[in-house]
């Protein structure tokens, strides 16, 4: 099953919602406040903190089992033009969820999309940089026994 069939043609929205969720709350607030014109928004559903039950797979690849829960905060907002957005973010930061929802709504607005897109890309770059720094540190702790190039089948 391809991702397309799962998400019903929403891979883009799926990506930006993920970027917004994985941003540090502070980064999102700073990026939001740096926007030249910030739209006003009203709550469709007030930010609310709850739990998502996190599942793993037996043996890493098998059937699901429940590992534990994580705190998640969600919000839904509406822009004056009527676009609605949702935010689901790990943790209990309500501002994070509201701003994620606001940016989601902007991304659906023809007039606001460009501005929101820049914000999302900035957050994505910050996340990528963090991830890469960790990957470089990990590589620096790799014990190298052999120097040959390993051949792996392409699948």
């Amino acid at each position: 099953m391809s991702l397309e069939t799962v998400v019903g043609g929403a891979p883009e929205r799926r990506r930006w919602l993920s970027v917004l969720a994985k941003a540090m709350p502070r980064e999102l607030v700073e990026a939001w406040e740096a926007l030249k014109e910030r739209p006003t928004f009203t709550a469709l559903r007030n930010a609310e903190t709850g739990l998502v039950l996190v599942r793993g797979r037996m043996g890493g690849t098998g059937d699901a089992f429940n590992v534990g829960e994580m705190t998640v905060t969600r919000a839904a907002v509406r822009l004056p033009e009527g676009e609605t957005g949702v935010g689901y973010v790990g943790g209990r930061d309500k501002r994070h969820a509201e701003l994620a929802a606001a940016v989601d709504a902007m991304m659906q607005s023809p007039t606001l999309r460009e501005r929101a897109q820049e914000l999302v890309e900035q957050l994505a770059r910050q996340q990528q940089a963090r991830r890469e720094a960790a990957a470089r540190k990990a590589a620096a702790t790799r014990v190298d026994f052999f120097t040959m190039v390993r051949m792996r089948s392409p699948d």
Partner: protein, 301 residues
């Protein structure tokens, strides 16, 4: 919009969320329909430790309403520390009136005792149960004991009582003495002294039992036959004392022994603190009663 990141002080009425209450309520109804049978339930973590009354607290939270009057006792007394702590909890989370007066209460939560004053039809008695399985001391495996209940195979329990008679000339159990409900389910009455067992039989009140850590709820409806196990030649008998209560003079209540020094001086006083206070107010006095009774009275409401 509501302020973001406002500190959250809000807990649902009676602490538990509504879904949890529904789950517990369904379990209570099944427990009443199958008297003495232990209904497994999805016990939740409570803000007091397991073993400290979480089963009783969950039962109370599932049934209590603002019109209830709540009494909580431990060892028969209203002023024992854990009873004070649980009573405060419900005063705070369920906005209920609390009382020490057994006759005034609509819900009585208890650890280890049943009040001396007979219960009434408008009362619900809730027992905190540490170990709901009467057979657990004889068989540690849940898979085994559940099968014994399923097929009413209680021979093991009788063998154990018989062994006690052989060894001591009597049945050795003084508290948590097993009972048979309607001649079908063997049940632990919770660790009440066997002195209280007769109060379970043909009770006017609904009796609910909750074991939070062991995740079991069971019940005895009013007017249900509750028989303490025994043998024809070794009949069930309750504790008696040669002494009377040192404070109120009662000769028929369960007594606590209080050591007064390390030379063997002791006095016996009622375990049921409200029963004792009520008797003293009515003018009864035991051999060691002082006269500053005002201090022991509840402040006027």
């Amino acid at each position: 919009m509501t302020p973001s990141n406002a500190p959250e002080r809000y807990y649902n009425y009676a602490y538990l969320d509504e879904q949890t209450k529904r789950m517990i309520r369904r379990s209570i109804l099944k427990a009443l329909a199958i008297p003495g049978y232990q209904v497994p339930f999805g016990s939740r973590e409570m803000p007091v430790p397991y073993g400290w009354g979480t089963g009783g607290i969950q039962l109370t939270a599932a049934i209590i309403g603002p019109e209830d009057v709540y009494k909580c006792i431990d060892q028969g007394a209203d002023d024992t520390t854990n009873a004070v702590s649980i009573r405060r909890f419900f005063a705070k989370v369920a906005d209920v009136e609390t009382t020490e007066d057994t006759g005034q209460a609509t819900i009585i939560q208890s650890r280890h005792r049943i009040p001396e004053k007979p219960l009434k039809a408008n009362q619900v008695m809730i027992f905190q149960v540490p170990q709901p399985e009467p057979l657990r001391g004889l068989e540690p495996r849940e898979t085994e004991t559940r099968a014994m209940h399923a097929y009413a195979e209680y021979g093991l329990q009788y063998v154990s009582l018989y062994e006690s008679v052989s060894a001591y000339g009597r049945i050795a159990t003084g508290a948590g003495y097993p009972v048979m409900i309607e001649e079908r389910y063997l049940m632990s009455p919770s660790p009440i002294p066997k002195f209280d067992n007769p109060k379970l039989n043909d009770s006017e009140a609904v009796l609910l039992f909750g074991a939070g850590r062991e995740k079991r709820i069971y019940a005895v409806p009013p007017h249900t036959t509750v028989r303490s196990l025994d043998f024809d030649d070794y009949p069930f008998e309750v504790q008696t004392w040669e002494q009377s209560c040192a404070l109120c003079g009662s000769e028929d209540s369960y007594l606590d022994e209080v050591d007064l020094d390390d030379a063997g001086q002791k006095m016996f006083v009622c375990s049921d603190s409200h029963h004792c206070a009520e008797r003293r107010e009515a003018g009864h006095a035991g051999p060691m009663a002082g006269h500053a009774l005002d201090q022991s009275k509840e402040p006027a409401p």
